[in-house]
């Protein structure tokens, strides 16, 4: 084998991919050629460097991927892992509902009749849509007392500073005959989030998939998340990234669930 022959086969030889009948020729050549032996050493040093450059997945990536997989598996009615704690299973079911809902809602929108204009869903959308014109302020003391009397502690505006959102007003609104607490948030980039809560049942089109506890519903280009806890309907909608919005819904849903509600 000449030096030129060896150089052409260097990578395959170094990786152990050289055809068997050529391996002994290559070894014989390296044994007698300092230049090619040096080149082989350099090639193996390069392999060591390359292998050491691997970047491990961040913990949050691993957690997010596993959560998505388990949610997807849940949506496909797989048996959950017996090692998963009950609390986790609850949220996996929520995540599964969201994923499944996201997958089917586009189609559902084609077959589900438009919401009754007099329904809380339509009223909620109108309330959200109207925000650009009239804004929110602060309820009067009497309105705040009435909201607390009807909705209980969940009438308070949750703190979402951990999600980079600042409170931007709240008020009482009548949503198709339902007294609702409506809160607005803003993020530094101008993103907007609206949270609405009232006592009642989830609107039919927002019930999500069978067994789901958190539903996604699309309003034009806006995705809203809906859930029910302790007889209250919660609706979260905004212009921020959907994943972020879902994270907030999951957070609020956890706080408003019977296990944690004060």
């Amino acid at each position: 084998m000449t030096c030129e022959d060896f150089q052409l086969r260097l990578t395959a030889f170094s990786l152990g991919e050289l055809e068997q009948d050529e391996v002994s020729d290559a070894r014989d050549h390296v044994a007698t050629c300092d230049n090619c032996a040096s080149q082989l050493l350099l090639d193996r040093q390069l392999t060591a460097l390359l292998r050491a450059s691997a970047v491990p997945a961040p913990q949050e990536t691993t957690a997010a991927v596993l959560a998505a997989v388990r949610a997807e598996a849940g949506a496909g009615r797989l048996a959950p892992s017996p090692r998963q704690p009950a609390r986790r299973r609850h949220w996996l079911a929520l995540a599964a509902a969201v994923l499944a809902a996201a997958a089917v809602l586009a189609a559902a929108l084609l077959v589900v009749p438009a919401p009754d204009p007099g329904s809380p869903l339509s009223a909620a959308w109108s309330s959200y849509h109207a925000r650009g014109q009239d804004g929110l302020g602060t309820p009067t003391e009497a309105e705040a007392d009435r909201l607390f009397a009807v909705l209980g502690p969940d009438s308070r505006t949750p703190d979402l500073a951990a999600f980079g959102l600042a409170k931007d007003g709240w008020e009482a609104r009548d949503l198709a005959g339902h007294l609702a607490a409506v809160a607005e948030y803003r993020d530094p980039d101008g993103g907007r989030v609206t949270l609405m809560r009232w006592r009642g049942d989830l609107p039919r089109v927002a019930r999500g998939t069978e067994g789901g506890e958190l539903a996604a519903y699309t309003w034009g280009r806006h995705t809203s998340y809906w859930w029910e806890a302790d007889g209250l309907v919660w609706c979260l909608v905004g212009t921020i990234d959907q994943k972020r919005l879902y994270g907030i819904a999951e957070h609020l849903g956890g706080e408003s669930s019977p296990a944690t509600a004060g």
Partner: protein, 179 residues
């Protein structure tokens, strides 16, 4: 479908999937999205996976197909071709002088290597990622990328010569026990 079986077959390879995604996509957020979407697609098609075969190669193939069909158009990392022997002023390799903190130097080495790999053409970069970094055989990498095995070998050969030219200072510091 068996979730535990799926996780047992695939979760040990998540580091490799993320690393490959990062090298393909060029940023962490897209790498996470690509990794997650790969796992979801793999879950949906787990019934077609043959137990006992290389699940890492199977996952990487799903990921590469996904990248080519859905992520490539929107990626932010430009393709950069370096001619043989061309000096690149943007590639700031760390000093060849050994520093007092060996670990720091090693991390600089790794960063230099990552940047050098990132500057390879995509096909070369993927071949290096699959074979050199994540240990697939050339035949497995050929299956992942949908090209003949000889093409993988050719890409690897050319990629390694470019990397050698870019990484000569680091190559001088590799210890015998690294080999």
């Amino acid at each position: 479908m068996d979730l535990e079986g799926f996780e047992a077959a695939t979760v040990p390879h998540m580091n490799a999937l993320y690393d490959a995604a990062l090298r393909l996509a060029g940023d962490q957020a897209t790498a996470q999205d690509l990794t997650q979407e790969t796992y979801l697609r793999a879950l949906r098609s787990f019934g077609t996976f043959t137990p006992g075969t290389n699940s890492r190669a199977w996952l990487l193939r799903i990921q590469y197909n996904l990248f080519c069909t859905q992520y490539r158009r929107g990626r932010r990392m430009p393709l950069v071709w370096l001619d043989e022997g061309e000096a690149d002023p943007a590639l700031e390799l760390p000093s060849a002088e050994p520093g007092p903190e060996e670990q720091t130097v090693r991390e600089l080495d790794r960063e230099a290597v990552r940047r050098a790999i990132a500057r390879l053409p995509e096909d070369f970069r993927m071949a290096v990622t699959l074979v050199d970094i994540h240990g697939l055989s050339c035949a497995e990498a050929a299956t992942v990328m949908g090209v003949p095995r000889g093409t993988i070998l050719s890409r690897l050969h050319r990629a390694r010569r470019r990397l050698e030219a870019m990484l000569l200072p680091e190559l001088g510091r590799v210890q015998a026990d690294d080999l």
